[in-house]
Amino acid sequence: MTELAFWVIAIVLVSSALAVVLLRNVFRAALLLIVCFFGVAALYITLNADFLAAAQVLIYAGAIGILLLFAIMLTRDLHSGNPFHRLHLPALVLSLLLLATIIGVVIGTDWTTISEVPQVVEMPLDEPTTSYIAIALFDQDNGFVLPFEIASVLLLAALIGAVVLVRREGKD
């Protein structure tokens, strides 16, 4: 069952990501990008990551998708479409080389070895992940409390920066 779901999701993901790159209409590309975000959320569900699936739908498909659609409407550059520039062949070669390298490394590595990384928290399979993520984030000894605080400052800086950037001069 999970296998069938994985293959269906994989086909949807790859085809929608290709459509984002290849479609001429920017607005349709943005809508297919939202399809791609939903596909990633479904993939998280096949990986037992329920909290991340919900966060993916809320943050990516909701917030970032709407933000991109607003940006496309505000820039009103639909008529020029979605062209490639003159260096797209070297870019294609570079991407394919990277893909071949990663696939070679993934297939060539023996993944069955158990890692020696110090583990923050372990949980049994088939349980909701939310409380375990909270333990992993805010653990006293090897949690991520300082990065969490820095992330909140980063979000505040991004908020203020976006407001300052798009504010028109001299109107207020």
């Binding site: 790159v21 820039t75 990277l98 949980m123 049994p124 992940t129």
Partner: protein, 105 residues
């Protein structure tokens, strides 16, 4: 052949390469930003797959925590990036990245 870590990693690699190609080869700045979002999503898939498959029978959730941080940075990056693109459009009336050459010598 049952589903394993390799399937997720290769799917993640394919998505990352598609995003990289788009980010390098497109001229519309909004589409470049969209392709960067695809790349970040591909990395998140790899993180969560490692988290799920690295140790058999239990889940080590550090990968989930990293994915949450990547999502946070992606949201901040999208907001600031789109604000910059809108500012460029307001000043130069285009979002073509080849036209944004003010600092070219």
């Amino acid at each position: 052949m049952s589903l394993g870590l390799e399937h997720y990693l290769i799917l993640s690699a394919i998505l990352f390469s598609i995003g990289l190609y788009g980010a390098l080869a497109k001229r519309n700045a909004v589409v470049v930003l969209m392709c960067i979002e695809i790349m970040l999503n591909a990395v998140n898939i790899a993180m969560v797959a490692f988290s799920r498959y690295l140790v058999p029978d239990v889940v080590v959730l550090t990968g989930h925590v990293f994915a949450i941080f990547i999502m946070t940075v992606a949201a901040a990056e999208a907001a600031v990036g789109l604000a910059i693109i809108i500012t460029i459009y307001r000043n130069r009336h285009t979002v073509d990245i080849e036209q944004a050459d003010l600092m070219q010598g």
